[in-house]
Amino acid sequence: MNNTVFGLTMLVVGMGGTLATLFLLTIVIRVLCAFFPVRPDDKEEKK
């Protein structure tokens, strides 16, 4: 594999893979927060 093909493969798959994986993580975090929702602040609770 020559350097140009290698570099472009890394750019497309590497950057794309990083974006896709972090996008997947945001979805997982949303699911996680649906199961364990954000609680109101202590000050708001007192009110």
């Binding site: 994986t21 945001t26 996680l32 927060c33 954000v38």
Partner: protein, 388 residues
Amino acid sequence: MSEAILSALGALFEGVRFLFSHGGPNVIMIAVACVMFWLAIAKGVEPLLLLPIGFGCLLVNLPLSEVMQADGVLKTLYDFGIGNELFPLLIFVGIGSMTDFSPLLANPRLLLFGAAGQLGIFITLLLALALGFSKEEAVSVAAIGACDGPTVIFVSNMFAGMNKIPTAMVGALAVAAYSYMALVPVIQPPIMRLLTTRKEREVKMPSPKGKVSKAALIAFPIVVTVITGIVAPQGLPLMGMIMLGNFMKVTGVVPRLASAAENEIANISTLFLGLAIGGTMAGPQFLTRETLMVFGLGLVAITIDTVGGILLGKIWYLLSGGKVNPLVGAAGISAYPMAARLVQNEGQRWNKHNYLLMHAMAANTGGQIGSVMAAAIMLSLLKGLGII
């Protein structure tokens, strides 16, 4: 008798003779060590790293020094913790226990800035290949774009262990990575101002309300570790160690271990890592054209990281109808929490009532995850392509 005294004196001054005969590169590197001391002591630039690296550099460049010979003290440290990538991973346990992911869990979409902030890695990889670096060298140089010293050392040392890059290059890469991390406050603000309009910089983002539940904080490191293990197993040691440190902290059941990770383990590993890396900076091997190119490409990498984050911020600004401040994108790099503070300062400079810190912290922790994920994916791709 006089002959014996003269030869004994000659032995004492052998070092001086060496310096005058072919010690030029060593003298230059001793000066470099002094610059590192000055930066660390007078300017407060990454003193935890630059001080031991500088001292290691001084030790290895003194004439006839044997600290990096077989059984030398720095060589022993190198083999013990750098050659097998142990020290960077132990530092990651400490980093994990120092990181608070709750702003990110309160606002998970900002994690995407952590991906955009890795653009510099892949563009720099292309540039390094174009400049004639080998594939393994180019990947190592590109890793500087992760803005994360331990990641750079982990990746480059893996190749050094396979004899695919020179050992001296690991030192150059580490020093470049830590220097640019320290220079983030100098590098980023001009780019932020250049790429954004005043109207964009003044956008106020409401602070996230409420507290993230402890259960979510505990589940997060496990989920991230499992996903990394499935997607990019080659980077599992990196992500796994960060998440282990964070897991120990958020569970709250092992305060002694969390404290040890954050203090003793991180401190001892940092000291040994710094000394051993300094030990790779022997003048004759370090002073090469490639070293200068590494420093140049490192600057390019961090600049493009910042550009990538801000450009995603600008797209988001347009798509959200002006509700997202593009400056937050600049925090999508791994320099934690420095990049987040910079965004907060820059936002307040243009709008005194603007508090971007929590959003920037979310993007910044996203940058930490993103940088490790990018490195993990690169290593997995290299494995898939049969290069490692």
